[in-house]
Structures are given as C-alpha cells and as structure tokens.
C-alpha cells in the first residue's frame, strides 16, 4: 500500500484507540484526581460494562440498534451502581489510604473477574453494531461504526467537560479535589461526592466498553490492557487535566499506530512504549500537569 493511504489508515486506527482510551482514562483520572485512589479495578468496570452490554443486547430482538442503545443506557448505570456499593462498603471504610485501597481494589478485581467467569463464561462474545456499514475507500475498506465511535466519544468527553466546569456538581467535585478539609468545612458532603465520583468514573469506563464491544468482544479478561494504558494516559496527560488526558490518549493511540508502519509490530510496540516512558522521564509532571507530586 502506498504511504499516504497507509498513514491515513494508521491515523484512523489510532483515533479509534484514542477515543475509547480517552473515555476510560477520563474515568480513572476523576477517581485518581479527586479521591487520590489508585483504582486497580477500573479495568474490571470496563469489562463489566462490556459483559453487561452483551447481556442487555441479547435480551431484545429486532434491529441491532435497539439492543445496542439499551446497553448504552443501562450498562453504565448498573456498573455505576456496583461501583457505588463497592465504594460505600469498602473504600470509604479504608479512609482512602492509598496502599490499602490498592489491595482492596485488587480484591475487587478478583471478585468481578470470577463473577464474570461464573455467570458469563470464558468465551469472547460480540455485540452487533447498531449499524453495519463498510466505507469503501479506493485503497481499503473501513468500518463506518468505528468512525461513529470517535464521534460518540468526543460527545461524551464534551458532556463530561460541561458537567465539570459548568454545573454545581462539577464545582463541588473540583472543590473536593482541591482541598478536602476546606470543602468539608464549607458543608460539602465529601463522602457522597467521593461515592459519586467513583460511580461516575466506573460509568465512563462502562460507556467506553459498550462503544468497543461491537468492534472487540466482551471477554472476562479484557480489562487489564486498557487499565494499564489508561493509567499511562492519565499520568502522561498530567493529573487532573482533562485536556491533558485527551491529548495523551491521542498521542498514545497515534504513536502506536504510526510507529507500527515502520517497524515489525512487536518492535514498534516496544519503541512506542519506550518513547512515552521517556516523555515522562523528562517531563515528570506530565504534558499538562502543573504540580509535581
């Protein structure tokens, strides 16, 4: 394939990866930023979102779009509820000790994985895309749904941005993030904010998962790789920076795709990872972070 179309393909692929990654990382970044909690179970919320999407979609017959939309609405809600309960039952009692929460969320990871394996099974199952269209370019074909994923993700990011910056909920969240004690002194129910943030973070992961299941499949072990990638995105972008998270997601998505044009795939992955690591080595606060912690 000629260089131009190849680059176009690598870019498109990179953007799809980035779109999903950005959503998931945004969820992680909220939890990380507001609660200072390393949520190892974030990838499992993503997995749970995908598995539930399959289940909801399989409940209804008729046009695949109906099942998909049902999943897009219900799956994040259920995941948010699960996260809310986990936060109230476990994390809040640990006082958000960073180290204790790592163990607790690893425990949660095991529990969610086992439940998925027991009730959903070990297979990878696909959800039908809401529409099935293949765009035929002169050089290659491309799935129209993938382009829709990029758009949907952008919309979700925008909505979250509005929520964070233009609403009272967002104000309360930012206040809590900025200074927990003072927020409490001003009558902000910090406990409820934390539970809400944890649930919102999980819901964002679930939305990312619902968007991805028509492309990839729901599988009970699907959570780990996106978890690692979204950790990387959050830190590279700079903690607490929405803009940074988006830029970092695009950077990682594209570098992975474009470097793979020139090297054998595994070598490309090694180089891309090394490159991103070195960004952090020489700019420890991340691309858009201000305070080095």
């Amino acid at each position: 394939m000629a260089f131009g179309p190849y680059l176009l393909l690598a870019t498109l692929e990179g953007l799809v990866t980035a779109a999903v990654l950005a959503l998931m990382a945004l969820g992680l970044s909220l939890v990380f930023g507001v609660m200072r909690v390393v949520n190892v179970a974030h990838g499992e919320f993503y997995m749970l979102g995908a598995v539930l999407a399959w289940w909801f979609a399989s409940l209804v017959s008729g046009h695949p779009a109906i099942g998909f939309l049902l999943a897009l609405i219900l799956s994040p809600l259920v995941v948010a509820a699960v996260a809310f309960i986990a936060e109230r039952l476990v994390l809040s009692r640990l006082n958000y000790e960073p180290e204790a929460t790592i163990v607790a969320t690893i425990g949660l990871l095991y529990i969610l994985q086992q439940l998925a394996l027991t009730f959903y099974g070990p297979e990878a199952r696909p959800v039908q895309a809401p529409f099935d269209m293949r765009i035929s370019l002169p050089w290659f074909g491309y799935s129209a749904y993938k382009l829709a994923v990029i758009a949907a993700s952008a919309l979700m990011m925008l909505a979250t941005w509005v929520l964070l910056t233009r609403t009272k909920i967002g104000l309360v969240m930012r206040a809590t993030q900025f200074d927990r004690e003072t927020a409490q002194a001003f009558g902000i129910p910090v406990d409820r904010v934390y539970a809400g943030v944890f649930a919102l973070g999980a819901a964002l992961a679930a939305v990312a998962a619902v968007l991805i299941v028509p492309i990839q499949q729901a599988h009970y072990l699907m959570g780990l790789d996106p978890l690692l990638l979204s950790f990387i995105v959050v830190i590279i972008g700079g903690l607490g920076s929405l803009r940074g998270t988006v830029v970092a997601a695009i950077l990682i998505g594209l570098s992975d795709g474009i470097i793979s044009m020139f090297f054998s795939p595994t070598l490309a992955k090694m180089l891309a990872t090394l490159l991103v690591a070195l960004v952090l080595v020489f700019r420890p606060q991340g691309l858009f972070g201000t305070v080095a912690r």
Binding site: T118, F119, P265
Partner: protein, 434 residues
Amino acid sequence: MREDRNSNILSSSGLTRRTALKGLGAAAGLMAAPGFVRYAQAQSSEPIRIGFQCHRTGIGAAYGRWYERVTTATAKLINDEGGINGRPLEIVIEDDGTDPARGSEVVQKFANQHKVDLVYGTLFSHVVVGSAPMAGELKIPYYVVSEGYHVASGKMNRYCVQPGITDVKAQVRSVAPWIADNLGKKVTLVYPDYAFGHDHRDFFEPAIQAQGGEVIAKVPIPPTETSFTRYFPQIPRDTDVIYHVMVGPAVLTFVKEMGEFFGSGGPQLFGFIDSLEAVDINSPGLEFLEGSHFWEGMPRYAQPDQPDYMTFYRETVGIDENGASRNDPQDVSTAAHMFGCWETLYVIKAAMETADYQGPDDRTKLIEATEAMTEMEAGREHPQGPKVFNGKIHQVFGEQNISQVKDGKLEVVHRTSIDDGLYEPEADYTTMSF
C-alpha cells in the same frame, strides 16, 4: 449459573459413577463373559486416579471448560465399560489458572498430596513447558493434550508424552501441499509473535517451499494487541493466500477487521480454527469468512458421511450437529482439539492394560508401554481417525481436516493422510534415563 450447573453435573455424575461402579464390581463376578476376564484378574478395586491439570481460569478457560466436559464424559464411559484393569477411573481436577508457575505447583500437588497415578490434560504450551520439569523430577507420567511441538522437540523429558493429539509441525506440513495446490503459491503469514506463532512460521515456510510455493510476507502480531487493521497494509497486494493463526480473546476482532479491510475482493484465506474455537462461526461480522478454509483437528459440524463412532463420540460428549452444547446452542465447543482428551484417556487405558499397571511403582512400565505403541485404529477409542505413535519422540501422528465455510457451516473438503504430516524425528526419549 453455567459454572454452578457444571459443578452439579460433576458432583452428581461422580456419585452415580461411584454407585454404578459398586454395582459393576458385584456384577463382574457374575459375568464370566470372555470380555470381562481381564477385569476379574484385577487384584485391587482401588480407583486409578488421574490428575487433570485444567485451565479453569485464565486465558485458557474457554478450552478448559470443554476439556473438562470431555474428560468427565470419557471417564464415565470408561467406567461404565468396566474401568481400567477392572479398576474404576477417578479424575482429580486442579485448576492451573493457565499459568506455568501454578502449573508446576499443581503437578507437585497431584504427585505429593493427591498421590495420583499420573497427570494429564494440559493444553496451553507454556503451562506444559512450565510443568514438565516438575513432572520429570517427581517421576510422574505427564500426558499432555496440547498440540505444541514441545514434546516432539525432545526438550522435555522421558515422562512427557502426547499420544492423543497431533503437533503443530505435523499439522502445518499436512496442510501446506493442499494450500499450494488449491489456493495459491504466494502466501502471507499472519501469526502471534510468540512461540506458538513462530512454530507456524518456521514449519510452514519450508513446507510450502517444498511445494514450489513461497512465503512473500510475514506479519507477526504482538500478543498484547487488541486491534489489527493497522497491520493489514503490510500484506502485499499480490498475495494469493493469507495464512492466519491467532489465539486469545481478540481473535474474533482480528477475523472481523480482516473482512472489513479486504471486503470480498481480497486474497484467499486459510486459517487455523484455533482462532475461532468456542466462537460461533455465524457471529455478527464473520459473514465474510464464507468460502474461506480452515484447518480442523476434528470437524466441528457433524458431517453427512461421518462414521458411527464419530456420532457416538459427539453424543457422549454432548455436542449437537453444530458443535455446540446440547443444553445451550450458544455454547460452542472447542471441537477441533478436545477429542484429544478422549483419545488420550483411551491411550492411557490401553497402556495401563498392556503394562498390567498396579500402582505408582509401575510408572516406568506405563511409559514404556506407551512408547511401544505404534498404530491406533480409528474407532470408538480414536474417533478422530487412525493414528501412528512414534515412541522415540513421544508424539502421535494423524490425519487432518481442511474445511470450508459453506452456508455458515464448516464442511470438510479434504482429509490429509498420516504420511503428509510425518517428519524426521529430532530426538529419542527412549534412550534417556527415567
């Protein structure tokens, strides 16, 4: 739910098996029919215990579940027919988490805690390789059902055997001539960038060259990859055939994205069904596979001309004509591999009977009896087809199926011969000490 149901099936069959065996033991004395003579000689009615190293969790769980079902069904059948040397067969299951370190621990547990007679049933190559040293040190026979080239390479030890499923080297050599004759001579390989994929690459290239074909490009995919489209431009335009073999949960994506990329105008496809084991071939997005070809160890879909023993096998392990569970048509089996469990258990039975196996002291005799095996006839014990065992490299050889997707079903279009897969042995376990 599903897992619960499973364990219920297991425990209840365990119960009925035991009670059935009590009845059998009593009946054995009554039945002096010639076929039962051997059983009457048995000195002990202690069960023969086989440790089943099962991928219940981890990346191999989809295979593990079906390996477990086939193992349970086969053990029940063997017991219903009188057991081994008149002794009932008991399967002890331990989960290895599809992890080599845990696998090695599980072998220890089988040998030293459960005190089983032998260990059996591992599929994933890295678990086999990780567990083999421990099996050798504890001097416990280790019968694997893995299709890897590890055993035949001579790098394991005298206690590791693979008598129930062919290895990747033989599979690849078997299908190469057919590919060259029917699909095309310019082949691009797409494979996972680790040992399993490298085996395909290294064995296929000389095999296709021997047929006058050539490998014009190799596309190794990193195992952590979840999206594949970006690699497809590396496939040259003049490719006749894409030879693809992927494993893991992302394989469906791989096949689907290949369809989106090439549409209907792309090269011919030849794949190893490993990519789609436990996956419905009619899943959304897989439509473009129509007309493409797959290697299958044993056909997933019931074939019109299949022999009676094949029908019997399919009924006993509980799969319908589409290769899915009888209880749940969405629960697709790993039909192309799991027959290996059935055949391996029957090989163990035959070897134990030849060696007059009494207990752990006879383990070396058991290995020697297995090594002495040569031809295995197709039939109830070997429903996949006839086999030839090579005792020097502890590896069995057999026929392979090449199937085409027609109307959303896999139809066998060619069956290779045993000779197609034979190769020069690279080792001789029989000269190694126990």
